[in-house]
Each structure stands twice: as structure tokens, then as C-alpha cells.
């Protein structure tokens, strides 16, 4: 950095590396502010962010905000079973007397955890494979990676996730593992497409002729230019991962009772339709709110990056 500056001897020679860092920080702050401005122009995106923040707060503070925290565990109170919604139990109580609202709040934990953990497991390897396949286009690396990707993409992820989850011990972590195993190819394909286009750009050729290492080209030249599509896909994917997670727990291949999860609550409650409708319907609406929140947020992120490019 210091060398670059010293070539302009005279007017700017007095700038120190610290000052450059400070300027970089300032411009980053400015970019952030500009992005937030673009993002917040759409009220729906703001609703999405607020919903997601509220959901995260509810989930993390569950023991404090849930009216009956004990009801999230192995708890029975048959005297108060199947109570319809009322002041004491806003969403009613279930077949063994547990407060439905409290269980929904605790159930958010596994849903949100699923979204975060699966993406954290899936994105790094998916992106890395995509970068390798795209940069080494036409070589055996590309052929191997992309053909394997095609195989995984040949079947809807839900079926393979169900199959993997079913052969493993059913619990939340194996459910996450099953979904992750099926999800990485989408990132590989996305980044592959971007990397194929980027590898022919002049700045990549420039790095190549100056003898930059492959790692430098992959991670410092190509990767930074793929960040916004990856972030967009991630923000939209959270909702899908949460849906698939709830499907796994709906069929009993995810979170195990007595631990609450929205999917198992719906499956259990469905047996008490139509008379005790609240046992199934409130968790079902909760899933819709969670997915809607993340979807609005994701759409906002997508529009923000789309606006950046034009």
C-alpha cells in the first residue's frame, strides 16, 4: 500500500498507511449506508427485517418471554388439556395440557438453528467446489465436480434428505446433516457459472501473468466478485431450509419429542382436527410467518444488489 502511494510523490506523499486504512473504513461505512438506503426504500423489506429480528429475539430469549417455559419439556397437565385460546393461554393448550404459544416460541429455536447451521455447513464447500470447477474449466477437475453436482441436482433435495435422515438416527443434528448433504450443489452450480465468466476478465489474466498463486486468484480475485449473488441466494435459501426442516420434523425424522418443533406440533395437532383446531393451526401459521419474514428479507437483499449493478 505504502509503495503505491509513493509513486505519486508530492501532493499525496504524506498519507500514511493508517490514514489509508481509515479512508477504506470510511468508504465501507458509506457503502453500507447506501445499501441500507436502497434496502429500506421498500417497506416490505423492512417488514421482513423487523420480523426476522423479532423471531430471533423470541427464539434466543425463549425461556424469558414464553409464558410457560416448563411446557417446552416433558410436562403434562391433563386437567388443563385441550383448552381453547383464552387469556391465560393465547393459543390454547395441546392434548396433554401444554401451552401452545410457549411451545411455538421454543420451536422457533430449532427452525432458526436449522437455517443457520445448514447454510454454514453448505456454503463454504459449495462455493469452493464452484470456484475450482469454474476456474479449471475444461480440465478433469471441472468434469468430476460438475458431473457429481448434476447427480445431486437430478433428484429434488427433499427426497434425498428424507432418505438420508431415515437411515440415520432421527434427531435435529442428523436432520441438518441430511439437508446439508443435498444442498451444496446449488451453490456449486451458482458459483461455477459466475467463475466461468470471471476467469476471462482482464484482472484475472493480469493476476495470472504477474505470477499470482492459484489460491490468490480464486480467493482474492474471483471470490470477491461472486459475493453478492451468493449472499442473495443465502438470504432466499434460509426460508427453504426452514421449510425442509419443518417437513423432516413433520414426518418424525427431525427434532424428537418432547422437544418442541413446529413440524412435529403440526403433525400431532392434525390428529385433533377439527375440534381442537388450535393445536395444529397456530404452529402452521407460525411457519408461514417465519418463512414470509425470511422471504421478504431475501427479496430485499436481492433487489439491493440488483440496484447496485445498474
Amino acid at each position: 500500500m505504502a509503495e503505491e502511494v509513493s509513486t505519486h510523490r508530492g501532493s499525496v506523499a504524506s498519507i500514511t498507511p493508517e490514514q489509508i486504512k481509515e479512508m477504506e473504513r470510511a468508504s465501507r461505512r458509506e457503502n453500507l449506508g447506501r445499501n441500507w438506503y436502497k434496502f429500506s426504500r421498500n417497506p416490505l423489506s423492512v417488514i421482513g427485517v423487523v420480523t426476522v429480528i423479532l423471531l430471533i429475539l423470541l427464539a434466543t430469549l425463549a425461556p424469558l418471554v414464553a409464558p410457560f417455559p416448563k411446557h417446552a419439556g416433558p410436562f403434562t397437565d391433563f386437567a388443563h388439556a385441550k383448552l381453547p385460546p383464552e387469556w391465560g393461554h393465547l393459543f390454547g393448550t395441546d392434548q396433554i395440557g401444554r401451552d401452545v404459544l410457549s411451545r411455538i416460541i421454543f420451536g422457533l429455536r430449532s427452525s432458526l438453528l436449522m437455517g443457520v447451521v445448514v447454510l454454514a455447513l453448505v456454503v463454504p464447500p459449495g462455493v469452493l467446489l464452484g470456484l475450482l470447477a469454474g476456474y479449471f474449466q475444461g480440465m478433469w477437475i471441472e468434469a468430476v465436480i460438475m458431473r457429481i453436482t448434476d447427480i445431486f441436482l437430478a433428484v429434488p433435495p427433499l427426497i434425498l434428505a428424507l432418505a438420508v435422515a431415515s437411515v440415520l438416527e432421527p434427531n435435529l443434528w442428523n436432520g441438518m446433516l441430511a439437508v446439508s448433504l443435498m444442498w451444496w450443489p446449488w451453490y456449486t452450480r451458482l458459483v461455477y457459472g459466475l467463475a466461468v465468466a470471471l476467469r476471462n476478465e482482464y484482472f484475472v489474466s493480469a493476476a495470472e501473468v504477474t505470477g499470482a498463486s492459484t489460491a490468490h486468484i480464486l480467493f482474492r480475485e474471483i471470490l470477491p466478485n461472486t459475493v453478492s449473488p451468493i449472499l442473495t441466494k443465502m438470504s432466499l435459501d434460509v426460508a427453504w431450509v426452514i421449510i425442509i426442516g419443518s417437513m423432516l420434523s413433520f414426518v418424525g425424522l427431525g427434532v424428537q419429542p418432547p422437544e418442541p418443533s413446529l413440524g412435529t406440533m403440526i403433525a400431532d395437532g392434525a390428529r385433533y382436527l377439527p375440534d381442537q383446531w388450535w393445536i395444529a393451526i397456530f404452529p402452521a401459521l407460525a411457519i408461514v410467518v417465519v418463512v414470509l419474514g425470511f422471504n421478504l428479507l431475501g427479496d430485499g437483499v436481492r433487489d439491493m444488489f440488483a440496484a447496485q449493478e445498474t
Binding site: 458431473r147 457429481i148 448434476d150 447427480i151 445431486f152 437430478a154 433428484v155 429434488p156 433435495p157 427433499l158 427426497i159 434425498l160 428424507l162 432418505a163 438420508v164 435422515a165 431415515s166 437411515v167 440415520l168 426460508a239 421449510i243 419443518s246 417437513m247 413433520f250 414426518v251 418424525g252 425424522l253 403440526i266 392434525a270 382436527l273 377439527p274 383446531w277 395444529a280 393451526i281 402452521a284 411457519i287 408461514v288 418463512v291 414470509l292 422471504n295
Partner: protein
């Protein structure tokens, strides 16, 4: 000739993809802790029976050899016995597949008609309250999982309004038509039993709509936006300037190119309803392949799981090929470039 060429290449490639899928499935089935031979005969069978079965099932040989045996059986349509039904898996699949295909086909029909219809209405009345209603509906349709729709519909149409049946394929007392295709609606029509046909149709409605909701919403959204995009293009303006009737401009000039993205997404959606059907068939007690597969998964019936996934994979790949052909027919650019490159 070029289409044939394209088709042959696609099919050969799909066969390789399915081969790869079979390896993945085989590995998943073998990851399973426990002895498949022991599971097949039960815990109380003497050890020598298990040993003999292990020999028969080639379980003592290397994994690659096991895969070879498994694949050569699978290609000949032999997936072994199902643990749950104690019958050959192939027999089970033949019995359950038609019900699933009937459901998926009907739900695909609903998505195509409903989604494209709503999209056209939305684009035609763009930025009016009609458009806004459709857009809000689409948003909720996309974010709501199909099993949630299933539960809501059961409560609303099944119990509260009591309009539609919520379980099975026909009413208990309805005479089932002689089995020809396995799809009750088709068989009833072939046998001329119209009462049975309508009964079967009523039973199809709720599960099919639950499956279709997501893709109706998606199709409506895509049709709307692609029609809105094309509406501002020059060729529409020149068609109007030439005095071509608005109905023809809309119906022929605008609709056809606007349907290209809709059709490709519709194909993907129909293919993925194959997987969502796993939950919907379970909820509506629909005796299809997906419910069979789901039960197999819940009971760790490995032979059945492998076969179901492979069959669904083949169906998924086939649907994708068909979609590619339809899109090529709709889009002269793809058709012409295929001719030129061949």
C-alpha cells in the same frame, strides 16, 4: 433430425446421471448401521440363517462387487423384497405408482391452468386491485409449505364446510372400476362409470390443490412479470400500430413468448411435486408411491427406499427432458440454434 440428435444426447446423459444416482443411493443404503441380513430375517432367527443369507446377498464381498450385483438386479427390475409388505418391491411399485402419477398429473394440470390464468389476468389488469390481490395471493402461495396448505384445506373444506372428502381415492361404497391403467379416474371413464369418475375426482381435488398451490403461485408470478416485460417491447407497439386487433396482439403475439419461462419453471415444479407428494400423500392417506416410500423410510426398509428414489429420479429426469423439448418448440431461437449447430 437435430431435435432427434439433441434428444439422444440428453437421454444418454440422463442415463449417466441415473447411474450416478444409483451409486449415491447404494452408498446411503450401506451407510446404515446394522446388518441388512439380520434385519431381513428378524432378531430371533438363528445365526446360521443370517450367515447363509449374508452369503446369498453377497454381503461378504467388497462394496464394489456388492454394487455390481445390486445394479445388475436393479436394471432387470429386481429390487429385492420389501420388509414391510414382504412382497417384491417391483410389485409394490407397480401397484402404487399409478395413484401418484394421477395425483401429480392432476396437480400439474391445476398449476398450469390456474397459474397461467391468474398470471394473464394479473398482467391484463396490471396495477389495479385485481393485480394486487393476485400478487398477495402469490406471495402467500410461495411461502406456505404444501403440508400447511393440506392442513388448512382439511380444516376448511373437509370439516368446516364439509364440501370435499379428505381421505383415500374413492368413497368406501363406491364400486371400483376394473383395473386397466391404475388411475381410478381414467379406469372409471374407460368402464363408463361416471359416478365413480366424479367421486374419484372429488377425492383428488384437495390433495391435488395442496400440492399445486405453491406452483400456481409461482406460475402466476412468472407469467405476470414476463408478460409485463414483453408488453413494453417494440414488436408489440408495431403490431398495435399496424392495427392488428388487441385480442390477437395479446393472445398470439404477447402470450406465446411470455409462456417460455413459465413452461420451464412449471416443468421443474411438477417434477418437484414428486417429492412434496411424500408429505401430502401421507396426510390424505393417498395410496401412492410417495406414501409407500415415506413408510419405507420410517421403517428403514432399504430395498424399497432405494427403488422408490431411483424411480422418482428417473421420473424427474424424464420430465426435465420433456420440458426441454416443449421449450424448444415454443422458442424459435433455441430451435434454430439447434438446427444450425447440428
Amino acid at each position: 433430425m437435430s431435435l432427434l440428435n439433441f434428444l439422444v444426447r440428453r437421454i444418454i446423459y440422463s442415463v449417466f446421471v441415473l447411474l450416478g444416482l444409483s451409486i449415491v443411493i447404494f452408498l446411503i443404503a450401506r451407510v446404515m448401521p446394522g446388518d441388512p441380513a439380520r434385519m431381513a430375517v428378524g432378531a430371533r432367527a438363528p445365526q446360521w440363517v443370517v450367515d447363509r443369507l449374508r452369503e446369498q446377498m453377497h454381503l461378504n464381498q467388497p462394496l464394489v462387487v456388492q454394487y455390481g450385483y445390486w445394479l445388475s438386479d436393479a436394471v432387470r427390475g429386481d429390487f429385492g423384497l420389501s420388509l414391510i409388505t414382504q412382497r417384491p418391491v417391483t410389485t409394490d411399485i407397480k401397484e402404487f405408482l399409478p395413484a401418484s402419477l394421477e395425483l401429480v398429473f392432476f396437480s400439474g394440470l391445476l398449476s398450469a391452468v390456474g397459474g397461467i390464468g391468474l398470471g394473464i389476468v394479473s398482467a391484463r389488469y396490471k396495477d389495479t386491485w385485481i393485480d394486487n390481490v393476485v400478487r398477495v395471493f402469490s406471495y402467500f402461495g410461495i411461502v406456505t409449505p404444501s403440508f400447511v396448505f393440506a392442513i388448512l384445506f382439511i380444516l376448511l373444506f373437509g370439516f368446516t364446510l364439509n364440501w370435499l372428502p379428505i381421505i383415500g381415492r374413492v368413497h368406501e361404497q363406491t364400486a371400483v372400476p376394473p383395473l386397466v391403467t391404475g388411475a381410478i379416474t381414467v379406469d372409471a371413464l374407460l368402464a363408463g362409470q361416471f359416478g365413480t369418475f366424479f367421486d374419484a375426482l372429488r377425492h383428488l381435488l384437495l390433495p391435488a390443490i395442496s400440492l399445486a398451490m405453491g406452483s400456481i403461485a409461482q406460475e402466476a408470478r412468472i407469467t405476470r412479470s414476463s408478460m409485463a416485460d414483453n408488453l413494453s417491447k417494440d414488436y408489440i407497439a408495431s403490431a398495435r400500430a399496424l392495427g392488428i386487433p388487441e385480442r390477437v396482439v395479446m393472445g398470439r403475439f404477447l402470450l406465446k413468448p411470455s409462456l417460455i419461462p413459465t413452461v420451464s419453471i412449471l416443468g421443474l415444479d411438477i417434477a418437484s411435486t414428486l417429492s412434496v407428494a411424500f408429505l401430502v400423500e401421507l396426510i390424505f392417506n393417498w395410496p401412492g408411491l410417495a406414501r409407500y416410500g415415506m413408510n419405507a423410510m420410517l421403517h428403514k426398509d432399504l430395498n424399497a427406499i432405494s427403488a422408490v428414489i431411483l424411480v422418482l429420479g428417473a421420473a424427474f429426469v424424464t420430465v426435465n427432458i420433456i420440458v426441454d423439448i416443449i421449450v424448444a418448440q415454443l422458442d424459435p431461437r433455441i430451435r434454430l440454434s439447434a438446427t444450425r449447430s447440428a
